[in-house]
């Protein structure tokens, strides 16, 4: 879940990280500030400045005019329902700081640069030596003395070092406390009078951790955050509920399509391969749905019933890569049980079951009993997808 800028800044405030004084307005009538101000469209995208979503105005009259403009103008597929109005800050220097996960090192990573306000991906590509990067552990976090070392290695000393170190340490606390996948302040401004102020903030919370942050998750259902973007369908939301039935494995990351062939797919990226293969052979998927990590029989059963309850779905294909971390027999149990509880016949309903791997002999015994067409690893994902499409046409 990506928070809007003003939502992210509210969290910065809880950790005493300074942000510009401002207000959030939903119409020009709500505007009530003096002097030059910044107007910032609240949409869940980066690069708003380049897209016309951030405007500096010098008078109240101009501000009201531009607020109406920002509220009525789509920006890259989104339309703001709220405008963040902030005081204009006199900036003498800009910094960058972020916390995210290094998926190769499998540890959280803090990044700092004394060149903020720029596109950090560009800086990383062209001048990587200007980025200070440091892995840390969830248990130890990033004490202020370690944060100051990182800032110091960027060539910063004195009062700035103390202030930046304190903010960097707090940013790590936010990252961990909010189960974030990324939190970034860019730019963090040094003002003319020597204060540090976060001018922009980008915070994303891990969707799988939203149950621990109900106050943030509730914002997803608010209708006045912004317009545009793709919203989850009821079919997808119900699948997510199934995935939350218990902690075991994944069975419910769903994207709905308008075809008639139900899909349960997965295996280290093979879900995309299987989905593409079905499409390439002329199949029209009713959905994309990953499973993996050894989901419970209950979750696979409920997922199967859910897919079969979709209008027009007569057949379902279960295609996975060779898997060691998902038991074939448990998937087979869930699929067969779901079909039976849906009042269907397993042998007629499964277009193909191609899940080779752990406990496959046991799984194939179950499938044999119910006459379900299955194949082992000697049949490729592509061939299995072709079979599924052909059998769906019958």
């Amino acid at each position: 879940m990506r928070l809007l800028e003003h939502e992210s800044k509210e969290i910065l405030g809880r950790y005493s990280i300074p942000t510009p004084k401002g207000d959030v307005v939903g119409s020009a009538e709500e505007f009530n500030m003096d002097g030059p101000v910044m107007l910032k469209a609240q949409i869940p995208l980066g690069g708003r400045g380049k897209s016309g979503g951030v405007i500096e105005v010098s008078s109240a009259g101009e501000a009201k005019e531009k607020i109406e403009h920002l509220l009525s103008t789509p920006i890259r597929g989104y339309r703001a329902r709220k405008i963040l109005v902030e005081e204009v800050i006199a900036v003498s220097q800009e910094f960058f700081m972020a916390v995210t996960y290094d998926t190769v090192a499998k540890d959280p990573l803090v990044i700092f640069s004394k060149e903020g306000g720029v596109d950090i991906e560009d800086l990383s590509a062209t001048q990587p030596e200007k980025l200070q990067k440091e892995l840390f552990t969830v248990r130890a976090r990033l004490p202020q003395y370690r944060a100051r070392e990182i800032v110091s290695e960027a060539g910063i000393s004195g009062r700035k070092l103390l202030g930046l170190g304190a903010i960097l340490s707090k940013l790590v606390d936010i990252f961990l406390d909010y189960d974030a996948t990324v939190v970034e302040i860019n730019p963090l401004a040094l003002t003319g009078d020597g204060k540090l102020v976060a001018l922009d903030c980008h915070l994303e919370i891990d969707d799988d951790a939203l149950y621990r942050h109900k106050d943030q998750a509730e914002k997803l259902s608010l209708h006045d955050r912004y317009e545009g973007g793709r919203k989850s369908t009821d079919f997808e939301l119900r699948a997510a509920e199934i995935d939350n039935l218990d902690h075991r494995g994944v069975a419910g990351r769903m994207i709905e399509f308008d075809g008639l062939l139900g899909l349960i797919i997965g295996g280290g990226g093979a879900s995309l391969t299987a989905f593409d293969a079905v499409r390439q052979h002329g199949g029209r998927p009713a959905n994309y749905c990953e499973i993996g990590g050894n989901p419970s029989v209950l979750k696979v059963k409920e997922l199967t019933k859910h897919i079969l309850a979709k209008r027009g779905v007569e057949k379902i294909a279960i295609i996975m890569n060779v898997v060691s971390n998902t038991r074939v027999d448990l998937v087979a149990r869930g699929v067969v049980k779901g079909i039976l509880e849906a009042g269907r016949v397993p042998s007629d309903t499964v277009a193909v079951f191609r899940v080779p791997g752990a406990w496959e002999e046991e799984g194939f015994k179950i499938l044999s009993k119910y006459g379900v067409p299955y194949c082992d690893r000697s049949v490729s994902i592509d061939e299995a997808a072709k079979m599924a499409v052909e059998r769906t046409r019958c």
């Binding site: 419970s296 029989v297 149990r333 067969v336 049980k337 039976l340 046991e362 015994k365 179950i366 044999s368």
Partner: protein, 73 residues
């Protein structure tokens, strides 16, 4: 009702929860529960059985048996 797995406890052999309770302690998918100091089967969970056999190993008097209903075909 279970479709694939049937777990049974031979009451004539079972020592009860207080004296043993091994099945209840080791089952990773909560197939066993307790009633009046005796272990009981949670039928709606039987199909979650992972066939790990921990309950069989934990049961001193060999009171637990697991049946694969799909092999009776």
């Amino acid at each position: 009702m279970s479709e694939f797995i049937k777990v049974e406890i031979d009451k004539s052999k079972c020592l009860g929860i207080e004296a043993c309770g091994g099945c209840l302690k080791v089952c990773p998918v909560n197939i066993f529960d307790e009633k009046n100091d005796e272990p009981m089967i949670v039928q709606k969970e039987e199909d979650e059985c992972t066939l790990c056999d921990l309950c069989i190993e934990a049961c001193g008097p060999n009171a637990v048996t697991i049946h694969k209903l799909y092999e009776d075909y």
